[in-house]
């Protein structure tokens, strides 16, 4: 399905280097779809981009209310970008509630495109307006484009024989057509997509096509000419691209890990927002021999993954914070059994049920410490949607080559956000070498061969003998066991030895050195992990473009930490750690390296913007300059 597209007929329109558009409407208005299509068209056009879908909390809120607003923000540009943008340049508001809830996010002087038809009494009241903002001062300082989208859509559909009520459902395609015109997006891909998507509902396809064309034409005819701009292609590295969100990338990464290791993938999972899509995606890929098991709860899900792993599968369990809190005991079992297991935590707002559809990154400490006893596990975190692919492979690699549960941290922002991804060559992916024991590894007192399940290799790892392997029958369990034989042991010395061995074998897993982005000799070092990468990178670029120095280290491996990290931290005068929590990585760094790592916290269920971090960096740099002088 590879398309090549050219810049289209609008080459003569003035060029801007980037634009941030926010589509907002009622949950029923199809804003996610609209945003998604606009994104795809832009991606195929050749822009760099990043997206931020935001939908209401799980329950379907009453139509027309603020609680029901669904939005999709997309940032497109002619250069490399890393975030969905600080503040939109354009807000498409399909109803009053959308305007009311999102207007404040717009840049001063930005453009509001609104569906005039919905600004009538009932909808205004539902949105909590006691007046019509179109008539009031609310929109002062913005460029406002009022379009009677509903009417125009219905008109366009009338001759097709579509009932007005059904035609109304196509108004998002009108908006999409209009915006496609304004930003000179290629239209073929969208029209093709409509064809395929609604293949079996011809009338719907026709209505959507008509609405899209009407929107596009409206730009031409309604004297909006001055609004038309173009965002040129970004100079991306050559290759084949697709636009991917984090959960899909993560799912594919797990499939890839299964292929690379030659082990069948077994997913034990229990649905939970925002992790369910991984279960959905993997359920679709039975052609890869993927087994998905929707268990009765999270404990059964991880239990089954452990069982499958014991049987020779790549055992994975996916969930979000509340699920991880439930899996602690079973993960401790896997630690004690020294079995491979990947535990994926797509973090969301907490504590407790919290903000299920909002992003947060406050499960790091639970990942480190959420089990009783000394129960160390490696932790890795993804930094961008596409990076979820790599991290899934990395998590599986560590799990399978070091016989340990590994926690993979993603979050709601990465899960649902998307970016263009240059597809890797499958041949370039590094195979994962998994070795199972097939022979005796010891001789007993009588000179007979025996199998010791806890006889360690030079990396302190134990051999795994799969059930089915002749002669190597053995028993393992969660009670403390003798190093070597694996027999139940209550010996004090052995227990201490095992506690240290478990610690050491995880602590000595080789992880790549941390790399410094920006100025290695800067006074200020920003240390990040997870999805803050985009905002930090954006901020660091702006700071450096403005001629100030700053360094950035972004951690993929949170346990163990890169060996060079301590030196890096100590080689800067000041260390700041932006986190979507109250300071979890910063506490780890402080404890580990006795460095005064300072937290920059945001816990709003929303990712950092580059601007917020830029601001904080400038503050610190000013202070440092003051100190320095």
């Amino acid at each position: 399905m590879t398309d090549t597209v050219d810049a289209g007929p609008a080459a003569e329109a003035p060029a801007v280097d980037e634009v941030i558009i926010r589509f907002a409407g009622d949950s029923g208005d199809g804003m996610q779809l609209t945003g998604d299509r606009f994104t795809t068209a832009s991606a195929m056009f050749g822009n760099d981009l990043a997206t931020l879908p935001e939908y209401p909390a799980e329950i379907r809120a009453p139509a027309g209310t603020m609680a029901g607003v669904s939005a999709f923000q997309v940032h497109i540009s002619d250069h490399d970008i890393t975030t969905p943008g600080d503040a939109p340049d354009v807000l498409v508001a399909m109803n009053p509630a959308a305007l009311r809830s999102d207007l404040h996010t717009l840049v001063p002087g930005g453009t509001v495109i609104l569906n005039r038809d919905t600004f009538e009494e009932r909808n205004l009241a539902k949105a909590g307006y006691d007046h019509n903002p179109i008539d009031g001062d609310d929109l002062a300082g913005y460029q406002v484009i009022e379009v009677p989208m509903t009417t125009l859509t219905k008109d366009a559909c009338k001759e097709l024989g579509v009932k007005p009520r059904d035609a109304d459902r196509s108004k998002n395609f009108f908006a999409l057509g209009l915006l496609s015109w304004m930003y000179s997006r290629p239209i073929e891909a969208t029209l093709d997509w409509i064809e395929v998507k609604f293949a079996d509902r011809e009338l719907v396809a026709a209505a959507n096509r008509a609405a899209f064309n009407a929107g596009h034409a409206y730009g031409e005819t309604a004297e909006l000419g001055s609004q038309r701009v173009v965002v040129r292609k970004a100079p991306l590295e050559p290759g084949t691209y697709t636009n991917i969100n984090g959960n899909t990338a993560l799912s594919w990464g797990l499939v890839a890990a299964s292929q690379l290791s030659g082990l069948p993938l077994f997913l034990g999972s229990y649905p939970i927002t925002p992790a369910s899509d991984v279960l959905h995606e993997l359920s679709k890929h039975k052609e890869f021999g993927v087994t998905t098991f929707q268990a009765e709860d999270e404990i059964a899900a991880v239990g089954a993954a452990i069982g499958a792993s014991y049987g020779g599968s790549l055992g994975v369990t996916t969930t979000s914070g509340p699920g991880v809190a439930l899996k602690g005991e079973a993960m401790g079992l896997a630690v004690s059994l020294e079995l491979p297991l990947v535990v994926v935590d797509i973090q969301r707002g907490g504590p407790s049920t919290g903000l299920p559809t909002k992003t947060e990154a406050a499960d790091l400490m639970m990942a480190m410490y959420g089990r009783h006893g000394e129960s160390p596990v490696p932790i890795v975190a993804a930094r961008t949607p596409a990076d979820c692919f790599n991290i899934a492979i990395e998590a599986a690699r560590i799990a399978l080559t070091h016989q340990t549960p590994v926690i993979l941290l993603s979050d709601g922002y990465l899960a649902n956000g998307s970016e263009p991804w240059r597809l890797p060559e499958v041949a370039d992916l590094v195979p994962i070498d998994v070795v199972y024991a097939t022979e005796f590894n010891q001789t007993n007192e009588d000179g007979e061969g025996v199998f010791w399940p806890y006889l360690r290799d030079e990396n302190l790892n134990r051999p795994l003998a799969l059930p089915g392997t002749p002669d190597l029958m053995h028993r393992i369990g969660g009670i403390e066991k003798e190093d070597g034989t694996g027999n139940v042991s209550y010996s004090p010395e052995n227990h201490e030895l095992m506690v240290h061995l478990r610690h050491k074998r995880i602590a000595s897993i080789p992880v790549p050195d941390a790399e410094v982005a920006g100025d290695a000799d800067a006074d200020l070092l920003i240390v990040g992990w997870g999805s803050t990468w985009g905002a930090i990178t954006g901020a660091v670029r702006r700071i450096r473009t403005a001629g100030r120095k700053v360094a950035h280290v972004h951690l993929t491996h949170l346990n163990p930490l890169p060996a060079n990290l301590g030196d890096l931290l100590r080689s800067h005068r000041r260390v700041m750690v932006p986190e979507m929590n109250l300071g979890q990585l910063s506490r780890i760094l402080r404890a580990e390296f006795l460095v005064d790592a300072e937290i920059l916290s945001k816990v709003k269920g929303q990712p950092f913007t580059a601007g917020e971090i830029q601001h904080a960096i400038n503050q610190r740099l000013d202070e440092l300059a003051g100190e320095g002088s």
């Binding site: 399905m1 590879t2 090549t4 795809t40 991606a43 050749g46 891909a189 997509w193 991306l236 290759g239 084949t240 697709t242 636009n243 594919w252 499939v255 030659g262 082990l263 077994f266 890929h285 039975k286 052609e287 890869f288 021999g289 087994t291 098991f293 268990a295 709860d297 404990i299 059964a300 239990g303 089954a304 993954a305 452990i306 069982g307 792993s309 014991y310 049987g311 020779g312 055992g315 401790g332 079992l333 597809l423 499958v426 070795v435 199972y436 097939t438 799969l466 059930p467 089915g468 392997t469 002749p470 002669d471 190597l472 029958m473 028993r475 393992i476 369990g477 969660g478 009670i479 027999n487």
Partner: protein, 348 residues
């Protein structure tokens, strides 16, 4: 590793070497209290498996935590002593991943009906190919004597010093209410009956649930002795045999017959043998089996043992595997490069 998994496929091909009890006995010292009923269950298993011509390397015992759950350590097979209550979950994953294995699940009444109750009923509902043995001693043995969900009302234990308030589960009723396809009961005082029952469980495709009445001579001694002791058995145990009228008593003078409120115990002489129920394990409707499970109201009244229900139904793991095979037959094995290109792509 491919070899190991493929070994399953060839299982029927090679001849299974003859084994003896010793071959199935691990080198670990058995650590139950002297006199514990668990010993005789272990013996029954170690004697049965050679008869079944099972392969040790293809046999896995998965258990939770409890005295019963120590069982895997004593079997010279593969085994995992997991955590309290979760054995059915771990076993489900293993059975799904490895249909070539014989997976046994062992646990106590606390392990599988208290903390693990949910995993048990879901495993039964799904009909995963597991042989689940619940050692019911109506007490928490390992933690030294608290009541369990099968302890009788009024029971005085460490955690119910003035008598237990709640009524117990009837494990057979719970299993039948959970759509179990194979449900049986046996007891630790009759090795042959245990072997026969375990054999049936082994042969059943799908989840086989067996309640084993087991004496904990330290914390709940003699709780089943009114029915399982040699000299009372005839009168107190109602043996269910497929295709046979359900009779018991030294002279087979008692029988079981249908009544409006469920099955009841009758006097054969009075009712006539022709009105005694003929046991049919294979009735798809579980109502009759359920009714049989209600005959014994306490462990001191006549109690049915044997196979209550044994019906054929799609086994879960193989159905899951079949879906995968079907898709692969249709689409071919997945190609990673194709997957990466399965969404719209563009070239730069």
């Amino acid at each position: 590793m491919t070899d190991v998994l493929d070994a399953g496929a060839n299982r029927e091909a090679d001849e299974v070497p003859a084994t003896t009890r010793a071959d199935w006995t691990s080198d670990q010292e058995v650590r139950w209290c002297p006199g514990c009923g668990d010993y005789s269950i272990l013996t029954a298993m170690q004697l049965l498996l050679p008869e079944l011509k099972a392969r040790r390397e293809k046999t896995v015992f998965i258990s939770g935590i409890g005295c019963a759950a120590r069982f895997p350590y004593y079997m010279n097979t593969y085994g995992v002593h997991t955590i309290h209550g979760r054995a059915p979950a771990v076993a489900t994953g293993l059975a799904m991943a490895r249909p070539d294995l014989d997976v046994w699940v062992i646990g106590g009444d606390g392990d599988m009906l208290s903390i693990g109750g949910n995993h048990l009923i879901h495993a039964l509902r799904r009909n995963v190919n597991l042989n689940i043995l619940l050692f019911n001693n109506q007490i928490y043995g390992l933690t030294k004597g608290q009541f369990s969900p099968t302890s009788q009302k009024g029971k005085v234990t460490k955690s119910s010093p003035v008598g237990l308030v709640a009524r117990p589960f009837n494990p057979i009723s719970v299993a039948l209410g959970s759509e179990a396809t194979f449900v049986a009961r046996t007891h630790d005082m009759d090795r042959q009956h245990m072997q026969d029952t375990f054999r049936r469980a082994y042969e059943h495709e799908g989840s086989a649930f067996v309640e084993v009445l087991q004496n904990c001579n330290v914390f709940n001694d003699g709780v089943f002795s009114t029915i399982t002791k040699k000299d009372v058995r005839e009168d107190m145990l109602i043996e269910l045999n497929h295709g046979q009228p359900i009779l018991f008593g030294s002279e087979k003078q008692y029988g079981v017959a249908l009544a409006p409120e469920g099955v009841v115990i009758v006097d054969v002489a009075k009712l006539g043998i022709e009105n005694v129920m003929v046991h049919d394990e294979t009735i798809r409707n579980p109502s009759t089996a359920f009714s049989l499970s209600r005959i014994a109201k306490t462990p001191a009244t006549p109690t049915p043992i044997g196979v209550f229900r044994a019906i054929d139904r799609d086994e879960f793991s193989s159905s899951v595997a079949a879906q995968i095979q079907e898709v692969q037959a249709q689409l071919g094995k997945g190609d990673l490069g194709d997957l990466l290109r399965s969404q719209p792509t563009w070239e730069v």
